[in-house]
Assembly symmetry: D3
Homo-oligomer: 325 residues x 6
Amino acid sequence: MPFFDLPLDKLEEYRPDVVEPADFDDFWATTLDEHPWRAEGMTLVDVDAGLRDVRVQDMTFPGYDGAPIAAWVISPTTPGPHPAVVHYVGYGGGRGMPEEHLVWAGAGFVQVVMDTRGQGAGWGTGGATADTGHAGGPAAPGFMTRGIEEPRDYYYRRLYVDAHHAVEAAAALEQVDPTRVAATGGSQGGALAIAAASLNPRVAALMADVPFLCHFERAVGLTGREPYEEIVRFLAVHRDKEEQVFTTLSYFDNVNLGKRATAPALFSTALMDAVCPPSTVFAMKNHYGGPSEIEVYRFNGHEGGATYHLRKQLAWLKERTAESS
Amino acid sequence: MPFFDLPLDKLEEYRPDVVEPADFDDFWATTLDEHPWRAEGMTLVDVDAGLRDVRVQDMTFPGYDGAPIAAWVISPTTPGPHPAVVHYVGYGGGRGMPEEHLVWAGAGFVQVVMDTRGQGAGWGTGGATADTGHAGGPAAPGFMTRGIEEPRDYYYRRLYVDAHHAVEAAAALEQVDPTRVAATGGSQGGALAIAAASLNPRVAALMADVPFLCHFERAVGLTGREPYEEIVRFLAVHRDKEEQVFTTLSYFDNVNLGKRATAPALFSTALMDAVCPPSTVFAMKNHYGGPSEIEVYRFNGHEGGATYHLRKQLAWLKERTAESS
Amino acid sequence: MPFFDLPLDKLEEYRPDVVEPADFDDFWATTLDEHPWRAEGMTLVDVDAGLRDVRVQDMTFPGYDGAPIAAWVISPTTPGPHPAVVHYVGYGGGRGMPEEHLVWAGAGFVQVVMDTRGQGAGWGTGGATADTGHAGGPAAPGFMTRGIEEPRDYYYRRLYVDAHHAVEAAAALEQVDPTRVAATGGSQGGALAIAAASLNPRVAALMADVPFLCHFERAVGLTGREPYEEIVRFLAVHRDKEEQVFTTLSYFDNVNLGKRATAPALFSTALMDAVCPPSTVFAMKNHYGGPSEIEVYRFNGHEGGATYHLRKQLAWLKERTAESS
Amino acid sequence: MPFFDLPLDKLEEYRPDVVEPADFDDFWATTLDEHPWRAEGMTLVDVDAGLRDVRVQDMTFPGYDGAPIAAWVISPTTPGPHPAVVHYVGYGGGRGMPEEHLVWAGAGFVQVVMDTRGQGAGWGTGGATADTGHAGGPAAPGFMTRGIEEPRDYYYRRLYVDAHHAVEAAAALEQVDPTRVAATGGSQGGALAIAAASLNPRVAALMADVPFLCHFERAVGLTGREPYEEIVRFLAVHRDKEEQVFTTLSYFDNVNLGKRATAPALFSTALMDAVCPPSTVFAMKNHYGGPSEIEVYRFNGHEGGATYHLRKQLAWLKERTAESS
Amino acid sequence: MPFFDLPLDKLEEYRPDVVEPADFDDFWATTLDEHPWRAEGMTLVDVDAGLRDVRVQDMTFPGYDGAPIAAWVISPTTPGPHPAVVHYVGYGGGRGMPEEHLVWAGAGFVQVVMDTRGQGAGWGTGGATADTGHAGGPAAPGFMTRGIEEPRDYYYRRLYVDAHHAVEAAAALEQVDPTRVAATGGSQGGALAIAAASLNPRVAALMADVPFLCHFERAVGLTGREPYEEIVRFLAVHRDKEEQVFTTLSYFDNVNLGKRATAPALFSTALMDAVCPPSTVFAMKNHYGGPSEIEVYRFNGHEGGATYHLRKQLAWLKERTAESS
Amino acid sequence: MPFFDLPLDKLEEYRPDVVEPADFDDFWATTLDEHPWRAEGMTLVDVDAGLRDVRVQDMTFPGYDGAPIAAWVISPTTPGPHPAVVHYVGYGGGRGMPEEHLVWAGAGFVQVVMDTRGQGAGWGTGGATADTGHAGGPAAPGFMTRGIEEPRDYYYRRLYVDAHHAVEAAAALEQVDPTRVAATGGSQGGALAIAAASLNPRVAALMADVPFLCHFERAVGLTGREPYEEIVRFLAVHRDKEEQVFTTLSYFDNVNLGKRATAPALFSTALMDAVCPPSTVFAMKNHYGGPSEIEVYRFNGHEGGATYHLRKQLAWLKERTAESS
């Protein structure tokens, strides 16, 4: 894979103007007003995964429109309250199986893995959550253009609200210290973590890797790779909807959301990542509202730092959550 | 493209057993009972496409659940009633623009081009119809696995009902002779035409080219090409849902639907078609309930006979519709 | 598909120096002197395509060297004279079948679809015209390097003369108003339309989409896509013929031809078009000799604006041909 | 991915003759005599991975020729002795990082992850073990043809001995019950597990998924995929060494090794696995010397059953190791 | 590359019926009558290639229609007469440069390398010979469908006559023993060698490797690879010309030509050759009219035996030409 | 293939700073001290290749660590002493067969073709030399990362010493004039020729085509093509070894080696060469220590000038070796 984006020194100072709608804050305030968190919808069922030392719970919590969102809660068996990590998943995947998520509990955190509505059938071991919103207008195969003609109908509006509520659900768990809830994820999961940190002030720390859904105007057409390419495909058909589409997307651009976040953040990007190009990540990082660091993986693609980076996250988050305890 | 399916002499006698659910007829009777045709929802707006000699109308008719389905009606300007052709569209496309559909009106037919709900953003000039059913459970990108875990929720249940109702809408047009309505289409459009001919006895003639959605058990895994591959992708994740998925699909298999159709039919297939393999087409043709012919394009892929075949269809349908007038 | 060419603001002012041979005008004057238009060679046979409201004629006219060139003439059945559109075809295709060309006649124009000598077997429904010139020296598979070692032998010399004569043939039709003949086409067809407008002053309006054969020095090596790549392949073998090849091509560069045209023009290009890159189109447009406009399709590849753009052409040309009537 | 191998009913009875050298048993007896297990070379260093409830040790044990082989030992912190699982790794990978291997310890097993000499730089987070044997004669890039001209020099001779010794190393751990040591792995790791079960009678249970290195005569040329294709590449150059190469390979064919194993086994295969085709897996399974079961993943490729299957392995092995305790 | 054709035991007895036109012999007799060999057109120019011990001559000889065909003559500097090898070139290539052809002269043979009319710009260092026949009707890019609608116009009619005359030209050289002229080549060159051996009784020995243009009915559609695929492309457009095309090809099928040859022959094929599949080669070999042997390269593609096989040819031909001297 | 590197005018002045380790000269002096040339290990066996006018010898000479390195010696049969050319081979190949190397002997030179240790099984007709050094630490498939963690263990250290000694072996041949020994090769062979010219002052002239192993910092990540990509693959796994890897590589960078060479040199590069990008070649050329020329092939990829360039080399070297004789 060749390098295709800006060189690192340019990336470090890349802070482009990104269009922000005038009613951006209203949009999200209204959205959360219309779809408020309701703790009473939560259900928790203990699951025997045959694993000692961790407790696994199959959680359902009410997301956007009260729709039931599945999640795994994987906790240390030691007495709490523990700090928690809300974990969002990459595009096309689902919450998978609890055996795949043992590190954070091993390190003393409660990990909540939120399923992604309607996804969870593209790779891995899948998910179990329907997208109860209506399927919407003409869309290219995939989730990127589902409802894209109108911000209120856009698929990611529902998903960002789910992400916001997942933090509340985590905080409501009896074994969790509600002042020490972090958000994390890679790719689409990184985007959801940023959105959660922006929309939900409860997020005490943010870790987002190779995040998706940042600086759409640059991303679309910089790389020809999925899933950004779904937007190209839509616009190649609907040649008259460019303005409408990018207006919708500006409400969901994590550059705009990240500006409003204040939690300390640890980001990562990879210089050969043609799925979520590094300049789109730096655009977000350099606009981010809170204190932030970024780890750069020079010769990696979208897989990024993998366990090398997880190890950095563990150390970073232990420091953050120790401080606040 | 190499040949990859059975040789022609084997295809001609290929008539496999295809699983049919015991409640197949009930399922569709119930479906149509629950979502009956309601002519009162139709709207028609004249459109000036700048074309002499054809009349273009932008039609909306109520489909499954009464959802508004867009269609073009393209008619000769001569006095009717005329025979009509209801035209269904291939996977990912929409009804496009009326300038793309002038042949049938030129030949004296009213052509109704039904938009495909939720699609219409994958290629061409698109569509304008939302899928108002709920978006559904975990699905691979695309439409093939939307709601696949339960026949009643499956995307194609909605679409087949739309196809059924489009025939009613065509018959209800003042310029159409309701006894001479044919159904046609290629690929997914061919599948919808067969379904329409099976579910709606009003269909007087059927023309289906390189039809999709036939003999799933063979198609899935015979070719690695989209869109059948979406089902593979779903099952590669949901390893425990094979039976459930193929049970759902059996309600939508055009081998089963075609058995119940009685209209005379003209089919076509192409021996190098890796999207809708010829054996799946012959499986349907050899089970078809009415009189049928098939045109074989030996060195073509999924593009099939194109205008060569359209010319054959014009001649064939003129004969059929002249007879019945 | 990522963007790969200049950004739009640079394209709009991109007006590179393009080499022009000193004897350029002589070359073409001599060529047309040696291969003059001879109306007496035209033949016209009515064809029954089973379509009301249009008249279809199978025309043969004498092209370069008097060779018989096939064309379809598709006319309104209303009394003329009508304005006409001469339509040239993309690389590898032929005139196809008349059913594929109904829009212009529907809009009140006589459409003449010129077959492309020797081509017409690469896609679609083909052509029927031989390349009677001799097949020529060593050439890479394809038509781009046929006779490329000498301008007088180059394949496109024959084809440009055919394009010139097609305009004469159109003007000679009894149903055509010879003062209102436009030239149009996409890709290679766009190139032929520009050449026709340059070489034949009778062309009253020009519409060229995603045109090929513009600014060879930039095109070859900017994109690795066919058919420009045929030239790379030739030069990769004949390492000593670079100068000779680009000298030949300079006689056929539509930047040079377009400079000499004066008809009003409507162009289109697509920013993701890697077959005919947008900078090569703008190079031509910005040198064009007459008044011109260009439509830019931002998220399209070589398919460009398709019916969206056809609709614009209909409106634009109606205005142009109404004016002059 | 289409199906490309035998259908399932044929696979289930596929038990081909596979060439076995007359001195097969001698070869391996001599090999192990020359490179015997020496417990004194083992080293163990505790590692703080920041994970509660598991103990991580960085182990080095002497492999073929006494070379130091790295491994992770990941154990429950509860008092032993525990049953153990020796885990071998897929082609190109290494032992990775301990955070990636938490399930077995969570389920009460000691997991030993053996690094693969010379590999560990192709994917994932790598390895740390050199191949101290000499690099050998002409070889295609990769490990498959390293030393292939002579069984005694072949790369996998060294690796199979390492696999044998890893079982001894596991059994020698103070926290392990030496009568309850299982071998497991996927792909190359599955091949090494079978080899270990064959060569080392201490192996009490075998779990091999989508195993590599089975029935070479069929595998090479059935699929065009790496790494079997390395052998094709070698033979395409060394056109005169076919016999020599397949003779060497016959000493390492897990069909031949598996015949000699007696431990109960749980295998898995996937019907769309073009890397390790299912017929090569069934050839081994149907010749296997001990009691065996096989799980078939119908719509998966080389990823096989993933966590779905891991869950089956946990249950299966708990039963096996409970019995023997 | 996987195996895709018949297994070797089936290949060895594969002797299919191949359609042969009733006037096959007339066709070729007439062709050679109309385009007889005329020695007077030969020219020879000595070239200084800076190489000791070989003499290089740039030859031109009159081919089909008397067109000038270029060739290299590379001879030992020792006194003759020597046996000769006429060497034909693969598809898309040309005679190249004399430095590329030194083995046969080194072994005591005069090597005549015939250029291929119109080709010589696809790979390598090219050619210098025009195809003076007319370029012909609609054709897919390439040479396979040039003139394919009529046997007399087909490109290979001209080329086979050139191949026939090249043998005469070789025999007419003063340094050549005209009773000891062999024909050789690989791929298209192998096809031309077979044609030469069939049409010209002077050919004393034939060596054809991985020959092209054998058993078209099987080749087209067995492999999807170029250049056979050009025929598929033509027929995918000209859906009504299948019979015409295969009739034309039957005059040029080397199964039919080879039946009529009597020279002893050494063939080669490769079991992974998807360009010229082994069954098409065996079809020819098993119908061949003279004594023949075949060398099979099991793990090679179209590159076949390369220098391994050249060495066999040297030995085989020395024996043949020693006998006859 | 599009152009992807700097334009020619920038290339001509491209002279980047390239990191050079402080102990570079010590490293190589020590290396050659530890692995000195020992003529006594040479063996020479005459081979009958059936070719008049050339003498073929199968040579073995002691390389790094005294390991036996195979080579062909192909000489004129005329009395010497002759000038000599030591020829190194491209990545993955071996010395092949003597019939493939006849030009230089034909032109009056003794050609020594050095086999490449461990390679010779990737393409062509192969090699016969083992890599006796130990296979080394974790490495990506291929030779580029074998031992890359430590300069003394790196595979190319062994190979560069072999290249140095091959010059000595050539000079020691009785038929060679030891004052007129040139080094040549393409790709990896070009890199070895530069290394030989740098390390061995006996090299009287250097000809390196499209050379590999130049300016690693730019090459890795400029192109995504093999074999530079092997380094990316290694670093994508070993994310913490970037500095170590590039430090090792700096000892083997032909920019650094070439600075120290003084022999007159003829280089070549190709502007579409994505395997060994032209800027990396110019970086070396513009730092080269002796007088140098470069031939640029504008429309070629890695095949470069082929026989066109060989002809230039013959003329250039004849001049050089005539001067010094």
